[in-house]
């Protein structure tokens, strides 16, 4: 198992490496560059712009530029500079990471903590009025654009009731609306999935077996049905986290929160490509690490998956010995 964990952690390295190459390649497809944009607003001639581009290395062959980018990135931790503000991208992002962390992880925490119990309650009372209401509302909430919900929440709680700040950064209260707006869809999605999966398990044979042993219904549900029903839910949490991470980007823009996502969008709007590259890389990294944690959690809970890894490593060992 520990070998599997190490292997899985090491797998992240090539992915991030290739992702950084991909981001750089994609961004270099963009026809214009910061120097051209800035200088074309001044009275500089085409020759002067070209000379400046040469000096900045924009006219070097792609591979040379890629090599420089990777060298700076992985040897010096240098993600370049924002041409708009002149400050190093890495430093900018480090100061913005906590905002995105709070928003994204706060949202996934809320989604899991509300979505799973909601789904379980619905499944246990399948067909009842409360179940039907839950299903109706989750369908609605799951289909709402998060930024629109954010606007509606702002209208209600900030403008009408004046309970919470409309936007900006500050104490915890600045995160309440963003986290709600971001997580509502995932709460609904997780609840629906949990319900379906628990419902399937509740009707399976081994739950009948558990009942036939004389276990109390509460024990049957909590000790037998739930742990099995939650396995598929756990595997899907990674996907929901991706959705929340993408959603954070939009929510940060809506609430003017200085996070990684809004940094990226502003970078795109200003054609400040070093910023975009840096922010992208961080998002990919956070996503990869979260998926890893979910994978490990899954393997930890389900003995069948654990056994698969044990079996595959045993098989490999046998192969090696045979060779």
């Amino acid at each position: 198992m520990s070998r599997y964990v190490t292997k899985r952690i090491l797998q992240i390295i090539p992915i991030i490496l290739v992702v950084s190459v991909l981001i750089f390649a994609i961004m270099s497809l963009v026809p214009s560059d910061p120097i051209t944009i800035i200088m074309s607003q001044t009275s500089a001639t085409a020759e002067e712009i070209e000379a400046a581009r040469d000096a900045a290395g924009y006219n070097d062959p792609f591979l040379v530029r890629l090599g420089n980018y990777l060298k700076n990135l992985y040897l010096h931790g240098d993600m370049g500079k924002s041409f708009k503000t002149g400050s190093p991208v890495f430093k900018d992002l480090m100061s913005r990471l906590p905002v995105t962390f709070r928003l994204a992880f706060g949202s996934i925490l809320v989604s899991v903590l509300l979505g799973i119990p909601l789904g379980v309650l619905s499944a246990v009372r399948a067909g009842s009025l409360s179940d039907r209401m839950t299903m109706f509302f989750t369908l609605m909430l799951n289909s709402m654009p998060n930024f629109w919900l954010a606007l509606m929440l702002v209208i209600l709680f900030s403008l009408k009731l004046k309970l919470l700040p409309t936007n900006g950064i500050g104490g915890l209260e600045h995160y309440i609306l963003p986290v709600i707006a971001n997580s509502v869809g995932a709460v609904a999605g997780i609840a629906r999935q949990t319900r379906a999966s628990v419902l399937e398990v509740i009707r399976s044979d081994f739950v009948s077996t558990a009942r036939s042993k004389g276990l109390k219904e509460r024990v049957v549900i909590w000790k037998h049905a739930l742990p099995n029903g939650l396995i598929p839910v756990i595997t899907s949490i990674g996907g929901f986290f991706g959705r929340l991470l993408g959603g954070s980007m939009v929510i940060e823009m809506t609430f003017s929160l200085p996070g990684v996502g809004s940094y990226m969008i502003n970078g795109i709007n200003n054609r400040d490509y070093d910023c975009v590259q840096g922010a992208m890389l961080w998002i990919a990294f956070i996503f990869a690490v979260t998926m890893l944690v979910v994978d490990l959690l899954y393997a930890f809970i389900d003995p069948r998956i654990k056994a698969q890894y044990a079996a595959s490593s045993a098989k490999k060992k046998a192969k090696k010995e045979a060779a």
Binding site: G127, W148, L151, L159
Partner: protein, 299 residues
């Protein structure tokens, strides 16, 4: 809703008896007997019809600026009110349906066909192509879908066509993976073995046995994909990347409404409401399709 659904599907079961599961008629019978799907289809149809006929139905044009009606609140004259340039929001919302729906349908059509083709080849033939494709998908899926779409549209620039391409690319990995898994699953089934044993040609096995059995989960995800791609399109436009104002795309409308939310909150309500109605409708149809195509999943 649940018991309704049960009743419905039982009613449908009676009707199904004479029909072959999986046939178009069978699916249609199921959909038309499921209240959720019927509501969904009616909503989509209504929005589409009003959208197409909007020039003849409404007395205002979606782009007509009228300074007298600037920021007008909802009234008898303008049911949804007017925006900051005095354009009637109801006309704009209905006219704007074409963006969300066409982006959703087209981008999903592209990602589904490319994804299904790649996934089928990888799943059926395996080998080097399969492992290369899987690694490539790993890389693409290192980004959340919306972030990938943002990256692509940052490169392509704003516009309807570019928005479609960005969303199509970001949707390919999901379809490819799903199709590959389905093909692998079907390939292991005994009826494929049986077909091989009676000397069925590879082409015939693929077209008559593998694809029909592997495709039905795809049909469901296409429906759900249109919904999520419509949502993502509005998010992109909201961020200023997809369809640009003054086009009345719902996300773009919300983006301009956001600046005036303190003074004129009514502008922000209706475009979002219609995104929601559209997405709910598509999800309802998708849910019902899933029940029709996979009786095992029915509860």
């Amino acid at each position: 809703m649940m018991s309704d659904k049960k009743k419905m599907s039982a009613g449908a079961e009676e009707l199904h008896e004479s029909l072959q599961p999986g046939s178009f008629k069978y699916i249609w019978r199921h959909l038309s007997h499921d209240s959720g799907a019927v509501v969904g289809m009616l909503c989509i149809a209504a929005i589409l019809i009003i959208c197409v006929l909007s020039p003849y139905i409404f007395k205002y044009d979606y782009s007509k600026i009228s300074m007298i009606d600037k920021n007008a609140l909802p009234s008898k004259e303008h049911w949804f009110g007017c925006d900051e340039l005095g354009r009637d929001i109801m006309v704009r919302v209905f006219y704007g349906a074409r963006y969300t729906l066409s982006i959703g349908v087209l981008s999903t059509a592209i990602s589904a066909s490319v994804g299904v083709a790649l996934g089928s080849i990888a799943g059926y033939f395996g080998g080097r192509f399969d492992s290369i494709l899987m690694r490539a998908l790993d890389i693409l899926q290192a980004f959340p879908q919306l972030v990938l779409a943002t990256l692509v549209s940052a490169v392509l620039g704003p516009g309807l066509d570019k928005c479609i391409i960005a969303l199509a690319i970001s949707g390919i990995p999901g379809f490819a993976r799903m199709m590959r898994a389905n093909i692998l699953n079907v390939r292991g089934q005994e009826y494929i073995e049986a077909a091989k044993s009676i000397d069925c040609s590879t082409a015939r096995i693929i077209t008559k046995h593998v694809i029909p059995n592997a495709i039905s989960p795809i049909i469901v995800s296409v429906c759900m994909g249109i919904a999520s791609s419509g949502l993502n399109a509005s998010a992109l436009s909201f961020l200023g990347l997809g369809v640009q104002p003054p086009e009345p795309e719902w996300g773009a409308m919300l983006s301009s409404a956001r600046n005036l939310i303190r003074q004129y909150p009514h502008m922000a309500i209706f475009p979002g409401l219609f995104i929601m109605i559209t997405v709910i409708s598509l999800n309802l149809i998708g849910d019902s399709l899933r029940d029709a195509l996979d009786p095992k999943l029915k509860d």
